[in-house]
């Protein structure tokens, strides 16, 4: 008969503090991730679901969403690939500039590209009407295609850059050494190795295109999509069941794409690429490839610059398309809505703080060997598969009645944004934790630190950087969010993006442009501050 050892009992139960925190994190994720999802899915009846194929309204919106997904993903991924190639080659002139300009759309509110292109290429467009005298109609699928390509190629670029940078240039040298010319190297080595990364980027872009609400609501015109239908149904007709049905349809493809990316493609990326090798230079790029890339990137850069130029110019032009006299009137008008900007900051700071704390806590917990940690990990990444409109509808359905009647408060907006952005912060924290050698924790234990001391002395200081990055990403995306806030704002807590969207829809372009410009400046300041803060948190971690 085995003797029961006290040590065995302790080892199996684990640290009581850790177990308690685990339970708390489980409750939070259950309440703010799982419950809203569940509410959306069960709100329509089975008969409602079965009636989908017979309803042209649903099938048409679904078709449109899928068409846009295919064409916008193709062009955005291709543009992202070319940009990524350009910025990872040292012999491509202007690579630093291309990288910087491609980052710009990432900090812009999601409707900004669409809005700017109406100003530049629309019926009153600076280029279309004023320069060329054309009567162009940008509203519709073609306008949305252009807009989504420009809006989402930076996302593809970032992912592909990561993959290209991880390819050891020695492989290209080896191929040259074995007799391949520049073209063959690019085809058989560089792009071949980047293929899983490109596939991953395409999946991420596809999810973003499907979920894109801001651009679609501004520029799609009479081209109904699933994401915009949800809002029209709810706001226009108060049809909660219809909205739930539409967003439930939307998460079928986004969930498939998400888990495909996470569990299939991302794994192949890591097994194909040899990790960060030596930083030797790539062999020279073929001149045709080199200058072709430069020409394409220059053209795309003009399109990105047009976004910022259009909005900023719009903010100081008397009547866009008719009277080009500079004016400060719009800025004055926008200043009247300054309180919406403050509401944005307050709510987003709250959301950022929640994302930061929950990210770090959950990442620490899932790094422990505790039963149920896979479930916790799943719930922490699940929001990445959910479009903003889904989360928006979900929080309305979950929290518009007792016992947790939160709709109407700033809390519901902050919580929805915080948990929607959780996967980004969580994954950053997990990556940071993975970089912390297990032996560092063991060294602390070896010198006499108990379980909670280890968390306090070792992990919390080392996770500062992860917290700052989680906070920042969540804050910036919250400040610029429209897809969730349109469902959750109430007259008492209007945020800037919501106000701007209304101005655009009502044709008050000047004030909309002015308020967008202010929002943009606010975002850039936040990015700068965060980088300074991260730099400080980082100081003792810096290598060498």
């Amino acid at each position: 008969m085995a003797v029961i050892r006290w040590g065995d009992v302790r080892r199996h139960l684990g640290d009581p503090g850790v177990v308690f925190a685990f339970a708390g994190a489980g409750v939070l994720l259950g309440l703010f991730v799982l419950y809203p999802t569940y509410r959306v899915l069960v709100y329509p009846s089975l008969a409602d679901y079965l009636a989908i194929p017979a309803s042209p309204r649903w099938t048409r919106a679904a078709m449109h969403s899928l068409v846009m997904m295919v064409i916008s993903t193709l062009t955005a991924t291709l543009a992202g690939l070319i940009f990524a190639f350009a910025v990872t080659r040292r012999d491509i002139p202007g690579r630093g500039f291309f990288r910087a300009i491609a980052m710009l759309p990432l900090f812009a509110p999601p409707f900004m590209v669409a809005f700017a292109y109406i100003l530049m290429f629309g019926r009153q467009g600076l280029i279309t009407k004023t320069l060329f005298g054309l009567d162009a109609n940008i509203f519709g699928w073609h306008g949305l295609w252009l807009v989504q390509t420009v809006a989402f190629f930076p996302l593809a670029m970032l992912i592909i850059v990561g993959v290209l940078e991880a390819i050891n240039p020695s492989l290209e040298h080896a191929a040259r050494n074995l007799g391949a010319d520049e073209w063959t190297v690019a085809r058989t080595i560089t792009f071949a190795l980047a293929r899983p990364g490109v596939a991953g980027a395409a999946l991420v872009v596809a999810i973003s295109v499907l979920a894109d609400f801001g651009n679609a609501v501004v520029i799609a015109g009479n081209y109904p999509l699933l994401a915009t239908e949800a809002w029209y149904l709810m706001e226009g007709m108060g049809d909660l069941k219809g909205a739930a049905l539409v967003v439930a349809m939307l998460i079928v493809p986004t969930t498939i794409l998400f888990f495909l990316e996470r569990y299939w493609v991302s794994r192949r990326v890591y097994t194909t690429v040899t990790g960060r090798g030596s930083r030797i230079e790539h062999p020279p790029t073929h001149p045709v490839l080199k200058w072709g890339t430069v020409a394409f990137c220059a053209a795309m850069s003009v399109m990105v610059a047009a976004v910022y130029f259009g909005v900023i110019a719009g903010a100081i032009t008397t009547v866009w398309g008719r009277d080009w006299t500079p004016t400060l009137n719009h800025i004055g008008l926008a200043a009247d809505r300054l309180e919406t900007l403050w509401a944005s900051v307050r709510i987003s700071a709250l959301a950022g703080a929640i994302t930061g704390v929950v990210s770090v806590l959950v990442a620490f917990l899932t790094s422990r060997t505790l039963p149920g940690r896979q479930a916790l990990d799943f719930l922490a990444v699940l929001p990445g598969a959910l479009p903003g409109v889904f989360v928006g509808v979900g929080f309305v359905l979950a929290f518009n009645r007792p016992p947790l009647e939160l709709v109407g408060t700033v809390w519901v907006i902050a919580l929805a944004l915080a948990f929607w952005h959780l996967p980004m912060g969580y994954q950053a924290a997990v990556a940071t934790l993975k970089q912390i050698e297990r032996s560092i924790e063991e060294a602390a234990t070896n010198l006499g630190a108990s379980g909670l001391r280890v968390l306090w002395d070792i992990y919390l200081p080392l996770l500062q950087r992860a917290f700052v990055s989680a906070f920042t990403v969540s804050f910036i995306r919250a400040v610029t969010n429209v897809s969730i806030v349109v469902f959750l704002v109430t007259p008492g807590n209007v945020v800037a993006t919501f106000a701007i969207l209304n101005m655009i829809n009502n044709g008050i372009w000047g004030a909309a442009a002015a308020l967008t410009t202010m929002l943009l400046m606010l975002t850039l300041v936040a990015v700068g501050l965060a980088q300074a803060a991260a730099g400080r948190a980082l100081r003792p971690m810096r290598m060498g």
Binding site: W6, G7, E437, A443, T445, N446, L447, G448, P461, P540
Partner: protein
């Protein structure tokens, strides 16, 4: 004399792999014991069980006759130096070294004094305010050692602490480490796969293979009297020469018959002949030399301090090292002069040869 650290039939399974298989070991007070073996032999797992990071599936661990098997790692006084140092990147050198004192509730002034003393001792004086990433690899290693020493542990554990240093530095640091250990008379258990390191630094070596301790002995015993072919092959280079033991103390190799003190048990046996115990000459030596083979140099390599030859003799390939080779290298036909007094006999001819003489464990320490 009771052992300071005692392992009794310690067994540990990692997954399905039997990592440590009934290991028993006594480490005396002030002794420097090395666990030596190839990767995967269980040496690090054994060390981690002494530190308390792994719990043995069976068996017990004692420190000063107190059973510590179930004591959690943070309550054992077994400070460890990790292979990758595991310095806390967000703490200064002084904070790193002082961490264990803080955990032990040593008051701040006393802790400062002890940190300064240890830093001085390992040659880190003046570096206390720096962060680990501002130090060289050698300095980081010193911080790791200081951090473990400052808490005055019962036993100091070192897990391949030199493997991240370059070759020159490694030799210097291991000499310093040994001097420090002897000065403090600190019971030390050291893990390495580097046989030269083990030979140069240890009082005693425990050679491990496939989860078991194969032989325990002084560096000389391990080198000159390996218990089996594995030990002989792992520690240094060896020629394994099949022979017949004709009578106790007599060995026949082809047409030669000569005395080897250790040879017992008549029958097939294997001679372990270290490359540096063979002397080459171009002409057959005089009558004074009895054990002489004729051979032919197949290949040679100049290694600086020595020259290494691969010589065909008696139908097998011999590795022979000659010290201070100078300009001239042997080539073509040569004579090999063997030194029976420096040979060692293993029973049998195959890989599973066992020692013919008495087991060396427990023999007098050097």
């Amino acid at each position: 004399m009771t052992a300071h650290v005692r392992l009794r039939d310690v067994t540990k399974r990692l997954g399905t792999h039997l990592a440590v298989d009934h290991v028993s070991l006594d480490v005396a007070e002030g002794e420097f014991t090395t666990l030596l073996g190839p990767s995967g032999c269980g040496k690090t797992t054994t060390l981690r069980m002494i530190a308390g990071f792994y719990h043995p599936d069976a068996g017990d661990i004692f420190v000063r006759d107190m059973r510590v098997t179930d004591v959690p790692p943070h309550r054992r006084n077994t400070a460890m130096v990790f292979q990758e140092y595991a310095l806390f990147p967000h703490m200064t050198v002084a904070e790193n070294i002082g961490y264990g004192l803080r955990m032990r509730g040593v008051d701040a002034a006393e802790a400062r004094r002890r940190v300064a003393a240890v830093a001085e001792m390992v040659g880190l004086a003046g570096q206390e305010a720096k962060f680990p990433n501002q130090l060289s690899g050698g300095q980081q290693q010193r911080v790791a050692v200081a951090r473990a020493l400052v808490v005055e542990p019962e036993v100091l554990l070192l897990d391949e602490p030199l493997s991240n240093l370059d070759a020159k530095l490694r030799v210097r640091v291991r000499t310093e480490l040994r001097a420090l250990q002897q000065r403090l008379n600190k019971t030390t258990i050291y893990v390495t796969h580097d046989q030269e390191e083990a030979l140069s630094i240890s009082d005693r070596i425990a050679v491990m293979n496939q989860g078991r301790i194969v032989q325990v002995g002084s560096p000389r015993e391990i080198y000159y009297h390996p218990v089996d072919r594995f030990v002989a092959d792992f520690v240094g280079l060896a020629n394994f020469v099949p022979v017949q033991v004709t009578a106790p103390g007599r060995v026949r190799l082809a047409a030669l018959e000569f005395a080897v003190e250790q040879a017992t048990g008549v029958g097939p046996a294997t001679l372990v002949v270290r490359p540096e115990t063979v002397t080459l000459s171009e002409t057959p030596p005089g009558d004074g030399q009895r054990v002489v083979l004729r051979g032919r140099v197949k290949a040679s390599a100049f290694l600086g301090g020595i020259a290494r030859y691969w010589v065909d003799a008696l139908g097998m390939e011999w590795i022979v090292d000659q010290a201070a080779p100078g300009e001239r290298m042997f080539a073509g036909d040569v004579s090999l002069m063997l030194a029976p007094e420096r040979m060692h006999v293993l029973r049998g001819h195959d890989d599973r040869t066992e020692v013919a003489g008495p087991r060396t464990e427990g023999e007098g320490r050097s």
